[in-house]
Symmetry: C2
Subunit: 300 residues, 2 copies
């Protein structure tokens, strides 16, 4: 049973088949956001802090950190924001870059055990990323494409994932530290995209025994009422065996949908987390009678 252990200096989050689904907040990412990009370039990190706090407050257990801005000093920025975020929240982080120096700078600055995002099965990428994973003893996202690109055939994507897991093993990295992203196609373009991923998840779980993640929102690309598709997709992914996803926890309904899938998958013991989050507030009179003392009121 794969257990991918992520940690900050003070908090552990486990991705696993018998664990609550792990939501990795995607909002610390300037892609397509002009102001955010400009601010990062000027080493102005107020929005990074804001997004970090808002996502943890909304229910994200892990935060993805991507500071990729063209022509900016990405390794420098990464080295600065990682300690900044770790000073604000105890959520473990996912260090996300396509630039190897930025990954390394993030790893060097990080306290705990992060998730590194990502390697593919491209030879050059594996050769540069996997030694870092080994050196820093962290976990890594493995994206199922290789030098030939992304295959539409889910069985090919399975083989590509398997190749990364095997290569990682050559470096002494355990399968449980490889979190496979099976790649989700837009269902508007490939009608079988959802079904393909569900089947692929069964194979990844039963044949490779690995944890999985994905950028879930891609599935609804180009369709109207996207959020409703995403909010149904997450429970379906969880039902099919996915154990984490990179999501926007601020989208209405998404966090409750994922927490409900925990209840229904039997990984929220006694529905404790659900009840804690959604128990109605007690009425004023009730609160006074039952819990007045705990609110610290002094007697007159």
């Amino acid at each position: 049973m794969a257990r991918t252990i992520l940690a900050s200096a003070t908090k552990e989050v486990v991705i696993g088949f018998d664990q609550p689904f792990v939501m990795i907040g995607e909002r610390i990412n300037p892609t397509g956001r002009k102001l955010f990009s400009k601010e990062l370039k000027e080493n102005n990190y107020w929005r990074v802090k804001k997004e970090a706090l808002a996502q943890v407050e909304a229910g994200a257990q892990v935060l993805d950190v991507n500071v990729g801005v063209p022509l900016a000093d990405e390794p420098g920025i990464m080295g600065e924001v990682i300690p900044l975020i770790q000073g604000l929240t105890d959520a473990p982080l996912c260090i996300d870059s396509s630039i190897i120096e930025a990954l390394e700078s993030g790893l060097a600055a990080y306290k705990g055990r992060p998730l590194l995002n990502s390697t593919t099965a491209e030879e050059e990428v594996m050769e540069r990323v996997l030694p870092l994973v080994k050196k820093y003893d962290c976990a890594v996202v493995a994206i199922s494409n290789d030098d030939t690109g992304i295959s539409e055939d889910p069985d090919v994507r399975f083989e590509v994932a398997k190749r990364i897991v095997n290569r990682a093993s050559d470096y002494g990295i355990k399968a449980e530290d490889v979190v496979v992203d099976p790649l989700v196609m837009p269902v508007g373009a490939v009608n079988s995209a959802g079904k393909d991923v569900f089947r692929l998840l069964h194979r990844l779980r039963n044949e490779l025994g690995v944890n999985t993640t994905c950028g879930a929102s891609n599935v609804a690309f180009g369709l109207p009422n996207r959020h409703a598709i995403n909010n149904a997709f997450l429970p379906m992914l969880a039902c099919a065996g996915m154990t984490s996803a990179i999501v926007n926890p601020l989208h209405e309904g998404l966090v409750p949908a994922v927490r409900a899938s925990d209840v229904l998958n039997g990984v929220d013991p006694g529905c404790g987390n659900w009840i804690k989050n959604y128990r109605p507030a007690p009425a004023a009179g009730e609160e006074r009678r039952g819990r007045g003392g705990r609110r610290g009121r002094r007697r007159a």
Copy 2:
């Protein structure tokens, strides 16, 4: 591949593995509704009509019809409301009663091929319901409990369902006309209730090859924020292989969740149904330019 064909006088709805998930509207049911019960007893059916139209408008493909009121003439009422509803909508109906005479009265009044709700594996019930199913050539809901009650063990419930399918076969009823209700326990009481049903659905689909249904809302009984659990449960059920459910289509978010599961299960070809239902309305100017003529406006 099981295809359960339901029909009104003019419209066919197919429940099947390669078909859109069938939502059976549950609202024509006086259980726990004082006014509705009183009205039915007085043969006042305005609420039946209202609930029928509202549910079809909301997206239900089939309507459950239950007119069970203690001490009322249920067979008489059933015989009156069935033609009434069939005069209002072309949705096939599910004739729902625990009284055999009410089932028979509904069947006699019905035009088309209804779903009969229900038989259990109790000997006396099978002996009375299955001959009706054969006589009227309809489909039947098979609830997985027997004379010993409801088992918490999903494998026992599987065996009970199998017994009904076999008994139906003795009467000349095909397995594809038996829609199994695997029985959903409240997850607040039985923590594994969701997971149990998902596993059971795999067995029912792969070993018995039957279609399935359930009263989905029972799963969240006693928990806060119930609707959020239901809205996640339906896509999970669809992902695990369930092909229909008895639901309240008026609950916010439920119909989009089910339609999204069709998109993601690849049973909404070209996402056509999704786009038809959720395409944003064109802006006023655009509409005039592009479609003015179709609105039938006359030139001055």
